[in-house]
């Protein structure tokens, strides 16, 4: 690149000026290489490749990295691309709800308001799903084993009244809320989940009971599920108020 005189007054351009005491730097500058901009362009190029090919790379290399990650124990979650869970909580801490006193209430526009214990949930028909947990920001955990009760079955037991069109979900943390339309709530892969990863849902993952809404981004799957209210309008939840889509179909449209 040619020197631009307005910005560069380095003595490289002054070798023939009498009295300029810059022979050494002048000589060094004769053989300069643009390493800086090549470094920058190289990193930006790799970034572009990473954005474009990252999802493919993730599915190819991810399983191997996950194995490496799990051999590192807790540190494995820190490995980029190792497909570890990230733990979200929007309050100071997270609610530690006791399993034996846990109750899920279903109220609002229903014929029979429900108060379900864990035992009640487990006495209902069970559904198993193996499905990816996909965060809207891009991270994903493939092949997670979920188990619970179809939300549709819970709603049938409560008896949804005519005119109801939507559901509001409230978390035991007192802050996290979510929403679904009644049609979305009745999809067969929308679960009230009490088991994930082949074990009881841990407190960090939103246990004892959380939602798992397979066709939607992770923020819709509210954690520490406390209350479901059947209503006649969609009230956007916590993350929707923060700018994320209300209809959070993975990929943008309903599969």
């Amino acid at each position: 690149m040619p020197d631009r005189p307005t910005d560069d007054t380095m003595p490289a351009r002054l070798p023939d000026v009498p009295g300029a005491t810059t022979p050494r730097s002048g000589r060094a500058r004769d053989r300069t290489v643009h390493v800086g901009r090549r470094t920058v362009l190289g990193i930006l190029g790799l970034t572009g490749v990473g954005i474009g090919a990252g999802a493919k790379l993730d599915s190819v290399v991810g399983p191997a990295l996950t194995r490496v990650g799990s051999s590192l124990g807790g540190l494995g979650a820190l490995l980029p691309g190792a497909n570890g869970f990230r733990y979200y909580t929007i309050t100071n801490s997270y609610p530690k709800l006791a399993r034996d006193t846990y109750r899920l209430s279903v109220t609002g526009m229903v014929d029979h308001p429900l108060t379900l214990s864990l035992a009640d949930l487990r006495s209902m028909p069970r559904t198993d799903l193996v499905h990816t947990f996909q965060c809207v920001t891009g991270w994903r955990v493939p092949d997670v084993h979920w188990q619970g009760v179809k939300l549709a079955d819970v709603l049938a037991r409560a008896g949804v009244q005519p005119g109801a069109t939507a559901l509001r979900f409230f978390s035991g943390d007192g802050a996290y809320t979510e929403s679904l339309t009644l049609a979305q709530a009745r999809l067969p892969d929308v679960l009230v989940a009490d088991k994930m990863l082949a074990a009881d849902v841990t407190t960090q993952h939103g246990g004892p009971v959380r939602m798992y809404i397979a066709p939607m981004y992770g923020y819709k799957s509210i954690k520490w599920l406390d209350r479901i209210v059947v209503t006649n309008r969609v009230v956007p939840g916590y993350w929707e108020d923060n700018g994320y889509p209300v209809d959070a179909w993975i990929g943008g449209t309903q599969p």
Partner: protein, 230 residues
């Protein structure tokens, strides 16, 4: 265009006086613009590293919580990250910064040699910055742009771009660790070299230091001043 004699030489040691002992005199290493850009960027970067760690590392996520707030701080600081640098390059105050960026770009033989042998480093005819500093600056500059772009995709891309968001997350997470290493090394090295750390705070560095570590740069300043004073 500011006068070089004003910009880079110390008022304590007018060259034409010639009487002041050299070990006391100082030269300007970073002007006000460069220092403001450096420290505002540093505050933003450290905030980003801390909030990023809270968003990323499970133990910290659970210990700190408040994800919505932490995310907002992270996103705002991320969007602001390049603003100081852009403003620093946007006005007539930019000249020293532009020339220093050019030094980061252009590598001479001493910059390559700097990596080859620790023992020979003292003998090199070094520019204002050594090869390690140049690599650090180029890497961090690129990493700032790359994390900004990938971060914007992660936060604001339409939900149909999910595969790109997955790629962006992979790049963003990888760069997180690289930046932590680069900034961590930068801070450790700066603390072990008080002369240079102070020069980023007060702007000046001793002529003795410059002669010992950046002889080629000192020659440049003096050469330019000789030309000016002619």
């Amino acid at each position: 265009m500011t006068d070089l004699a004003v910009t880079e030489s110390s008022p304590h040691t007018p060259a034409e006086a010639g009487g002041a002992p050299e070990d006391r005199s100082e030269v300007v290493r970073f002007d006000v613009n460069e220092r403001v850009v450096h420290w505002t960027t540093a505050v933003l970067m450290l905030t980003l590293i801390f909030t990023g760690a809270v968003l990323y590392i499970p133990t910290l996520s659970l210990a700190i919580g408040n994800r919505g707030t932490v995310e907002q701080i992270h996103v705002i600081c991320g969007i602001a990250l390049l603003v100081p640098l852009v403003l620093g390059l946007a006005g007539p105050w930019r000249h020293l910064l532009v020339r220093d960026l050019r030094r980061v770009d252009r590598w001479g033989r001493s910059d390559f040699d700097w990596f080859r042998s620790r023992g020979r480093r003292k003998a090199l005819e070094r520019d204002k910055f050594n090869g390690g500093q140049k690599l650090e600056a180029a890497f961090l500059g690129a990493a700032m742009v790359a994390t900004l772009v990938t971060g914007l995709i992660m936060r604001y891309a339409p939900s149909s771009w999910i595969n790109w968001a997955t790629g962006a997350t992979l790049v963003h997470d990888t760069l997180f660790w690289a930046i932590v290493i680069a900034v961590g090394a930068h801070i450790v090295i700066a603390l072990s070299r008080p002369d240079q750390l102070v020069s980023m705070m007060r702007g000046r560095i001793s002529r003795v230091w410059a002669r010992e570590h950046s002889a080629a740069w000192l020659d440049e300043i003096d050469g330019a001043r000789t030309v000016r004073g002619r």
